[in-house]
Symmetry: C2
Subunit: 293 residues, 2 copies
């Protein structure tokens, strides 16, 4: 069994990006610049944004953090986005989700210029991904694809079973694994809460991607010998064995499943760290105008 070490790969990607940035600086190229908008002061959102800003610093990107109060009017947020859209120095912009209930996420996301939508949430980027045109791919699926590539995992003709049909993981993942080329060319099955015999379907998987948000949902008996298992789940549960009183659990019962796998992601340290690497990669692409020219 080989551990898909997202922490290590993410560090590697960051170091590659840092070298590119150093090269850009040397040649007088503009440094990539990411803007992040945070509305309110939700603890988890603060943590995520702080991670992203810190990652920008690590690789030498410029970053701008825009803070708006919980009660900000939607119109003001949209104007802020317009401002960033117009600012030629800023290459990419992300709006930390979720937003307060009085603000339409749909309107906010659609307001972002597609060329700067490095989260890949704008319908144009989602649509272009589906019809196989260059597009920003959102962080989690992009990170998983990168892991598969870096470990040179065969996907062509494999049966890839995806548990979960969310907009940000399940659906784009299905598109990516089924499309022509590598990674891709897999036979893809999407399962969800309405799936019957989910155990049986999982046992058919050569590659199992789990994004249910149910701690330890996938047990050893659900996995075929030699399968590749990618665990996107992350649930915080109480624990008497950690100093903090909490521990993070994936959607996969690691100890049981690891015994049967050819490759498996740990939680934490698997898919999680790859998401920030993806965001940095997209921001670099934006700075180089690789997607939209």
């Amino acid at each position: 069994m080989i551990l898909l070490d997202g922490k290590k790969i993410s560090a590697q990607i960051k170091s590659e990006i840092a070298s590119s940035v150093a090269g850009m600086e040397k040649t007088g190229h503009k440094i990539p610049h990411l803007a992040a908008i945070i509305v309110g002061s939700d603890g988890a959102s603060e943590t995520y944004v702080a991670h992203k800003v810190k990652a920008c610093e690590q690789v030498g990107f410029r970053s701008t953090l825009v803070r708006l109060t919980e009660k900000v009017q939607q119109e003001l947020l949209l104007e802020k986005i317009d401002e960033i859209n117009e600012n030629a120095d800023i290459d990419g912009v992300i709006v930390q989700l979720p937003l307060p209930a009085h603000i339409s996420e749909e309107k906010v996301i659609e307001r972002i210029k597609v060329e700067k939508d490095v989260d890949g949430f704008h319908p144009v980027n989602v649509g272009r991904l589906v019809i196989n045109q260059p597009a920003y791919i959102s962080a989690t699926p992009n990170g998983i694809i990168e892991l598969i590539k870096r470990y040179d995992i065969e996907t062509s003709g494999k049966h890839c079973v995806i548990l979960g049909r969310s907009n940000i993981v399940g659906k784009p993942m299905a598109v990516l694994m089924a499309r022509k080329g590598y990674p891709g060319d897999a036979t893809v099955t999407v399962c969800h809460s309405r799936t019957k015999d989910i155990h049986e379907v999982c046992r058919q998987a050569d590659i199992l991607i789990v994004a249910m948000g149910k701690a330890e949902f996938v047990t050893g008996d659900m996995v075929k010998d030699g399968a590749v298992v990618i665990d996107v789940g992350i649930t915080r549960v109480k624990s008497v064995n950690t100093r903090s009183g909490w521990k993070l659990m994936g959607d996969v019962k690691f100890d049981e499943v690891a015994l049967k796998c050819s490759y498996i992601t740990p939680v934490p340290g698997g898919v999680g760290p790859m998401t920030i690497a993806s965001l940095l990669n997209n921001t670099m692409k934006a700075a180089k105008k690789e997607i939209y020219g």
Copy 2:
């Protein structure tokens, strides 16, 4: 075995739309108006466009056919689209594909105002479909969904196997069958040329949707008893048994498969006629501003 009679259902839908149009006329509402652009004079394209224009007439829509020569410059075609985009009387516009090699289909499709993209090919409409926002859905998948609805076929928890991963059938079909609600909530498997054991996968299908473009690919032994089989394929093959010397064949070996099915579409007269009904439906939605307000 029940025949999914696309010809009958399509006629039914047209008659429903015709009544709506009559109602609109009575109340002084603007009549729906579809513009179709055809470039060059390819035989098949001419036939398709003629069918669409005729269908508009049948239901009482206005239609405008724009003809451009094979050698038209891309810029001129784009200007024509701009003109139609600005024309408040025109609700929907379609550009008959394929286009000559010197014209970028991507640029042409992206130039169409999303609000008038009744073919549902614009990335915004594709993306919105994926993330479950109101969108124009392209004709073939939309037509299949309508057939499933009209025959009240159960989809929740069913295993839907889709053969083919094209942008216009396989991919949107997978999204539609897997999404929440009815029709949908199915476990969806997408197969294609790289799929191993395709016979075995097909035999698991409760609902089998075939869009391979390979005449009579699906044989009786590939279908489970009681399955629903939807045949999107249409291939013209030589025949000594028809006056024209040609006959149309689906991707499914009808005589063998029909014996085992609960429901099956004939070819011709199944999915085909539903596509024009879908286009009319989308044009009506555009006229009523149902999708984009």
